[in-house]
Symmetry: C2
Subunit: 228 residues, 2 copies
């Protein structure tokens, strides 16, 4: 069996598990948001700020993916947020099987947004479905405006793009137009939110959009359950 065939088999097996996860989440009124970004773009901060914004409306849970450590999981736990840490060892991404195990440890007694913070990596996470409803890519002004050109596959998967650290846009000479042109070269421009986890700007718009997606999904699910 060749390398390409092995790779295809791995991806197919993952897709099958991702479909099962999707059924599990739908039947438990869970909206799943897969958060992907380069290391240090602000995944943890964005998740925390979003939970603060929407804490009155939904329950939350977080799965933290890292090769090692439980630094981010500790941050969540300190704030009383239900969290599971996955340490991937030498693996560069989360996969559907890891999510199945971790997600099964939460209790879902009301509509829940489950954030999955993927391993910080702009390449490998884009290939592995987890059973998510939304894929979010967080860019940051400090990492430069050329990333969509260099890492197109992750932007291809994005249902929304966040540009974090927008308070540093000018200091970083971040070219917003070049960035957006790069995303638009890969796919029709998805919703874009410019945010700063430091000064809070733009977070309301993003949280508002996420809540509307959540209503669409969970409203739909509840409708189906009522019919069934």
């Amino acid at each position: 069996m060749g390398r390409i065939e092995i790779r295809r088999n791995i991806l197919e097996a993952n897709e099958n598990l991702a479909r099962r996860n999707r059924d599990f989440f739908a039947s438990n009124d869970v909206l799943v948001v897969n958060v992907m970004a380069a290391p240090g773009a602000g995944k943890t901060s964005t998740i925390l700020k979003t939970i603060e914004s929407l804490a009155d409306q939904y329950a939350f849970a977080v799965i933290e993916g890292d090769m090692a450590s439980r630094i981010d999981a500790d941050v969540m736990a300190e704030r009383g947020i239900p969290v599971e840490q996955i340490n991937t060892g030498n693996m560069c991404h989360l996969d559907a099987n890891m999510i199945r195990e971790a997600a099964g440890k939460f209790t879902y007694d009301r509509p829940t947004i489950l954030f999955i913070e993927n391993v910080g990596n702009l390449v490998c996470p884009s290939e592995f479905s987890l059973g998510e409803d939304l894929n979010i890519v967080i860019a940051s002004t400090t990492e430069g405006h050329d990333k969509p050109y260099k890492y197109p596959s992750i932007y291809l998967r994005a249902d929304a793009v966040l540009i974090n650290k927008i308070d540093l846009l000018e200091a970083m000479e971040f070219d917003r137009k070049m960035f957006c042109d790069g995303v638009a070269a890969v796919k029709p421009m998805p919703p874009l939110f410019e945010i700063s986890c430091r000064n809070g700007s733009g977070l309301d718009d993003w949280a508002c959009w996420l809540a509307s997606e959540c209503e669409r999904k969970l409203g739909g699910t509840r409708g189906k359950l009522a019919e069934g």
Copy 2:
């Protein structure tokens, strides 16, 4: 054949090619520096500044690794630096075979430092030898001080660590001690250079260290060639 065995075979085949690359580079008086970092940490800027510093002493060549685009190769070419772009498609790292092909396209008529700018990724490049003499990891203050804890494998491989964007250390609340403790938890602390490609600080020390490594390697090579 199982997944683990396939993985081992791939890594072994790569090691064999890396050894051949190493022989090729040694016989051509080339010091090879594999530059690894997260996206946007400043790999290209650091390479450019280093070449500026040492242009009188060595010839230079650069191999640029990216999934897509030739943005960084164009930057090098504009400055008259011999450069080859490798586009990896959906691959998350460079491997020894890619380097063999690209490196064969340069002419080496005097002692040369060859920089390999790996794909921006703190996970996968750490597993694949390229035939390099030195592995350099560039962190940046903007990506945070916790990365050695989360991505230990790449730091385990580092012969030197650079902290770039050091001019933003205070603004970013980058905890130097926490960062260093994280590296030292993985391996005996390698040489560490705090640099700013923006204001030039620290670059002389780094270039000086690199030149000394180069003398050690190429001096040694020339010695051996003279003996042979």
